[in-house]
Structures are given as structure tokens and as C-alpha cells.
């Protein structure tokens, strides 16, 4: 097409994908533990956007996309009857229970020391930490996306940060011990 209206749906979709597809792929890939199924979910999320989310923009658009994406991920789990650690954690976190660290996730490749330490946190904490520090959502938006209360979100983020700090203290000591040997 040589003359494309600036305000049409296709142009708007392209912009939405340019802005959000990467963040959504990371998010879905992490929830599902599978980049490929994550891609399917993200594609489906944008398809749904075309059908029903047309008058959204800015932060509302981002929140809508993440909410739908998350629900689609959980749908995938339900459909496949694969209640993995992640969704169990999500459900237990929603019920307000405390969770044990997920050691299975700690083998993941991580670039930085903080995010490396993050992989040892329970998935529910990882999820809200990422939504806050990677995607820039407010507590209120995170509550909207995850279905938690704002207090739940605040509590999870607080606990996550405290754990990371403790972990660094521990890691720091073991590092020094390592050097001493």
C-alpha cells in the first residue's frame, strides 16, 4: 500500500507491537517457561487487542496487554492440565500464603548479580518485581494485571527486595571466603 492512513488500525497495531511485543514475550516466556508457547500467547494477545481493545493507549494499553497475556498463559496451563510450579505459586500467592524459594529456577542464565539472585525467589515475587522494575508498572497496575490487592503487591515487592538484600550479604560473605582460600 503506498498511501497509508496514519490513524488506521494497522498502523496503530504496528506501533503497539513495536512498543510492547518484546516485553510481553519476556513475560509470557517466563510464566510458561517456554519461549515458543510464549510467542503463541503474545500473538493471540495482539489478535484480541484488534478485536476488543481498540480505544486504549499509553499505560492503559500496556496494562490491558499484560493482563490478557497473563490470563492467556494461565489458560494454556489449564488447557494442558499442566499446573506447574508457576501457576500454583500464583494461586497460592493470591491466597496470601508465603512461599519457599524456587531453587529450580536458579539454574537460569542471568546477566547481572541482582537478577541472578532474583531467580532464587518464589515466582510470584519474581513476577511482581519484574512488572515493577522491568516494565515500570505501578503497584496499582500490577494489582490489576495479577488480580492481587495493592497490599499484596506491596508486600510481595517488599519481601522480594528484603530477600535479595539478604542474599547479597550472604553471597558477599561467601565470595570473600572464596577469595581467602
Amino acid at each position: 500500500m503506498t498511501a497509508e492512513p496514519n490513524d488506521n488500525l494497522a498502523a496503530w497495531l504496528r506501533k503497539a507491537m513495536d512498543e510492547h511485543e518484546g516485553a510481553l514475550l519476556r513475560y509470557a516466556g517466563r510464566i510458561l517457561g517456554d519461549a515458543e508457547r510464549g510467542r503463541d500467547v503474545v500473538q493471540d494477545t495482539f489478535l484480541r487487542l484488534l478485536e476488543s481493545g481498540r480505544d486504549l493507549d499509553g499505560g492503559r494499553l500496556a496494562q490491558w496487554l499484560f493482563t490478557v497475556c497473563r490470563n492467556r498463559c494461565l489458560d494454556v496451563f489449564r488447557k494442558e492440565r499442566r499446573m506447574t510450579l508457576m501457576s500454583e505459586h500464583v494461586e497460592r500467592a493470591a491466597a496470601g500464603s508465603e512461599l519457599a524459594p524456587d531453587d529450580a529456577a536458579s539454574g537460569r542464565e542471568q546477566a547481572g548479580r541482582v537478577s541472578a539472585a532474583m531467580s532464587a525467589l518464589p515466582p510470584s515475587q519474581q513476577e511482581v518485581l519484574r512488572l515493577r522494575f522491568q516494565n515500570g508498572f505501578s503497584y496499582k497496575q500490577i494489582a490489576g494485571i495479577t488480580g492481587l490487592t495493592v497490599t499484596n503487591v506491596g508486600f510481595l515487592i517488599h519481601t522480594g527486595i528484603q530477600r535479595l538484600r539478604r542474599r547479597f550479604q550472604v553471597d558477599g560473605q561467601s565470595g570473600r571466603e572464596g577469595e581467602a582460600r
Binding site: 500500500m1 503506498t2 498511501a3 494497522a10 497495531l13 514475550l25 519476556r26 484488534l50 541482582v114 506491596g154
Partner: protein
């Protein structure tokens, strides 16, 4: 207010998440306690480090076919929207069609010819609530629905279903009766496929799957130097040209080129300036001189859109190519009879009024040598040839990457947008790549 270090409000405060009242309370608490201030500072440092590290994580992208599929869906919805907006006029068009049908009944597939710009003013039957149903056809005659070409039948289904038809015989006189001598094509062509092909070849170093190549999208990705409509011509101009087909000896290419008038300068901010609505095009062939024809590309479900009127924006243009097989008597390139046997009819409404305008043209003169055709014509044919190679089309004839590259280089025009030299680059890259599969 007394706060312990384990209170989640401390973190919320450090991250600026509290409202004014709570924030004030935490503030007064930490003013009174230096260890809390240090705590807030430590939280902020960690948050900053976390933010920095998470921002550095790789950002995956959707695979190009997924994106292209979504964009196509959006474009479909755009077109459906535009069609809906103008659908009330459909009833009136059918009145015009029926009138035309009565006039030309028995005239061997030729459509009524009207001088460019001649307005037709049927009685206006405005029906804004319910779209007019498909009308009964009281007389046999032209139907403004897409007529399947015998060579590349219209298909419906999911994008992965598209392929070139298997019978490789273009000129085998497989032309049923006169009722099949009409064709139409969608006016608003996407270009997702072209961008996908370009990305795959230039950036990923591989050839696209044949089914991902849409020739009409590739042709219409490029800007051509078509003349704008003159004074008094209305918002759209249409022309038809013939040239000998470069990939199949004895065949002829018909190029249909439609150009909308230039946009008004002040309209830019508001997005598209619509210059015509309910626009549709029909191409008819007289079987006395045209033994066979095929519309190049347009073999996706969107051809169905051709049945609906489309909105046309300022500066828009569209190009369609037909491969024709001249009837035996007409000779090698069909002579003057071939030109007279092709008629392109365009109809549209002005955006502010309900009047239907119709324009009909035929190519001027017989098909000349391909080398003598305009740069625009040769370039469009080259893009089509490239697309046919990528699609493994049974009609690609003598097309090769090397040949297409040479042909493209001789059809650069002034290439103001740099599109054509980029296409040449794509061709050069594609030459060395193994076929998909």
C-alpha cells in the same frame, strides 16, 4: 507512627508508591529514625540496580510471519470498516448494474463504456440501516462479484492455504464461456508480505516460504510515477497499457494503473484524506481476441474484498498486472484487436455525495516490445517475476534472479525514494540463497 524495617510501607515509600497522607506519615517516621533513612536509601540503591540489570535483558521479537499475519488481520478490519461505512450505497449500485446489464445483454462480455468522468445518476435508494442483500439478477449479464480466473482461482481459507494452482498451462484455451471474461481486484493492497520478504532476505539471509509471498503486495509496495488526474478528471485516473510478456513468448502483459489525486497540504495532520469512496474496478476481456488471461497475484482471501467498494485516500495508487494469451487470429502480440478487447472500468463515489462515477479505458495501441515499455511498467513486471520465482509459480516462465536483477537495473526511473535500488539489493542477496524447504 512507628515503623519497623519489615513494614512493606517502607519499600512502597522508597519507590514513590504511596499517596500523600501515607507518604507524610512514613516521612515523619524516618525523620525520627536514622536507621530507617538508611533502609530507604538501601532499598532505592537495590531498586536502581535491579532496574538497570533487567533493562539490559535481551528483548525478543515476534517472528516476522506472526507480525505479518497480525498486520494483515488489522488491514482486513480496516477495509471492512471502510466498506461498512459506505455500504449503504450498495443498493444504488445494483440499480446501475441492472441498468447496464440490460443495455449490454448479449454484447459478448463487453461492459458499457462511458466517457471518463461521465456521472451516472440512478434513483437514489438510501438505506442506512440494513445493507442491501445480494440482488436477484433478472437478466444474465455482468455481475460485480469477483470472477475466478481459470488460472489462479480465488481461494478462501487461512493464509497457509495459498499456493499457485497446479495446472501450469496458461494458454491452453481453458477459457469457459463469455460469462467468465471479467476480473476484478482489491484496490487497497497491504504490503506486509513485501516487508517480510525484504527482511528475510536482507536480514536473515534466507528465502521466504512460497506461501508467504504475495505478489500483488510486492508490486504495490513500490511507488510509481503515475500522472495525477488532470483538472476536471475527478479524483482518480486510470490507465491501461500492454507490452509483450518478458517471461513467456507470445503472451502479453496488461498493466492497470490507478492514481488518486494529490493530497491537500493542510490535511496531513488528520490522517488520510479520503478522495473517493465505494471504489471498485472491473477488467473485461473479449474472448474474440483474448484466448486466456490470469491476474498476477491476488490469490488470497482478500480478493473477496474486491466485491466491496473501498475508500481511496489522496496520493494512493494501485497497480495490477494481467498475463494475457492473445487469440490465435490476433497474431503474436495481438495487434490492435487485443487492445480493443481489454476494457478497464473504474467506479467510485465522491466522498461528499452519493453520485456514482464511472470511468472506462482501453489500452492505447498494440503491445510493443517489453524493452520499450516505461520504467514503471518494466519495474512492476520485474517485481512480479521475482515474486513468481519465490512462489515457485508454474507461470514463471524464463524468470531467473539474474534476469530480474538486470531488468530491475534498467528500470530504476529516478528512484526518489530509494525503493528500487533496495529491491536490486534484495535481488542480489536472493541470488545466492538456497530455496526455502
Amino acid at each position: 507512627m512507628k515503623l519497623s524495617k519489615d513494614n512493606w510501607l517502607l519499600t512502597a515509600y522508597a519507590l514513590g508508591e504511596l499517596g500523600a497522607v501515607e507518604s507524610g506519615e512514613v516521612e515523619s517516621a524516618i525523620l525520627a529514625d536514622e536507621s530507617l533513612r538508611a533502609e530507604v536509601e538501601a532499598i532505592r540503591v537495590l531498586a536502581g540496580e535491579l532496574e538497570g540489570e533487567l533493562a539490559a535483558e535481551p528483548m525478543p521479537r515476534l517472528p516476522a510471519p506472526s507480525r505479518a499475519g497480525l498486520e494483515r488481520r488489522a488491514e482486513e478490519l480496516d477495509r471492512a470498516e471502510a466498506a461498512r461505512a459506505l455500504r449503504w450505497g450498495r443498493g444504488l449500485r445494483w440499480v446501475a448494474v441492472a441498468a447496464a446489464a440490460i443495455l449490454v445483454a448479449g454484447a459478448a462480455g463487453m461492459w458499457i463504456l462511458l466517457r471518463p468522468g461521465t456521472p451516472v445518476a440512478p434513483p437514489i435508494v438510501k438505506n442506512e440501516i440494513t445493507p442491501a442483500p445480494t440482488p436477484p439478477s433478472p437478466v444474465p449479464g455482468p455481475k460485480l462479484v469477483p470472477t475466478p480466473s481459470p488460472y489462479e482461482p480465488y481461494k478462501t481459507g487461512t493464509p497457509s492455504d495459498f499456493y499457485e494452482p497446479s495446472q501450469p498451462s496458461v494458454g491452453s484455451a481453458a477459457v469457459p464461456g463469455a460469462g467468465q471474461q471479467r476480473s476484478t481486484f482489491g484496490l487497497n493492497v497491504a504490503d506486509a508480505s513485501c516487508r517480510y520478504v525484504r527482511q528475510l532476505i536482507l536480514e536473515e539471509g534466507r528465502r521466504p516460504e512460497p506461501s508467504d509471498v504475495r505478489i500483488e503486495e510486492m508490486i504495490n509496495h513500490f511507488r510509481y510515477d503515475y500522472a495525477y488526474p488532470g483538472e476536471g478528471d475527478g479524483p482518480l485516473s486510470v490507465r491501461a497499457d500492454l507490452a509483450q510478456c518478458p517471461w513467456s513468448a507470445g503472451h502479453v502483459l496488461l498493466r492497470v494503473a490507478i492514481q488518486a489525486r494529490a493530497g491537500a497540504a493542510q490535511a496531513g495532520a488528520k490522517g488520510a484524506e479520503i478522495v473517493a469512496g465505494d471504489a471498485r474496478v472491473g477488467v473485461s476481456f473479449d474472448p474474440a481476441a483474448v484466448a486466456g488471461w490470469r491476474l498476477i497475484g491476488y490469490d488470497g482471501p482478500m480478493c473477496e474484498e474486491a466485491a466491496h467498494g473501498e475508500q481511496i485516500a489522496a496520493d494512493w495508487q494501485v497497480t495490477a498486472l494481467y498475463e494475457l494469451v492473445p487469440a490465435g487470429k490476433a497474431g503474436e502480440s495481438g495487434g490492435a484487436a487485443l487492445a480493443a478487447a481489454c476494457t478497464v472500468r473504474l467506479e467510485y463515489k465522491l466522498p461528499d455525495g452519493g453520485r456514482v462515477r464511472q470511468v472506462a479505458v482501453s489500452p492505447v495501441g498494440p503491445a510493443g516490445r517489453f524493452e520499450d515499455a516505461s520504467d514503471d511498467f518494466r519495474f512492476a513486471a520485474t517485481v512480479a517475476g521475482f515474486g513468481m520465482i519465490l512462489r515457485n509459480s508454474p507461470y514463471k516462465g524464463t524468470c531467473t534472479f539474474e534476469g530480474m536483477l538486470k531488468q530491475a537495473q534498467s528500470a530504476m526511473g529516478d528512484d526518489r525514494l530509494g525503493q528500487r535500488s533496495e529491491f536490486a539489493q534484495v535481488l542480489r542477496e536472493a541470488t545466492g540463497l538456497p530455496p526455502a524447504e
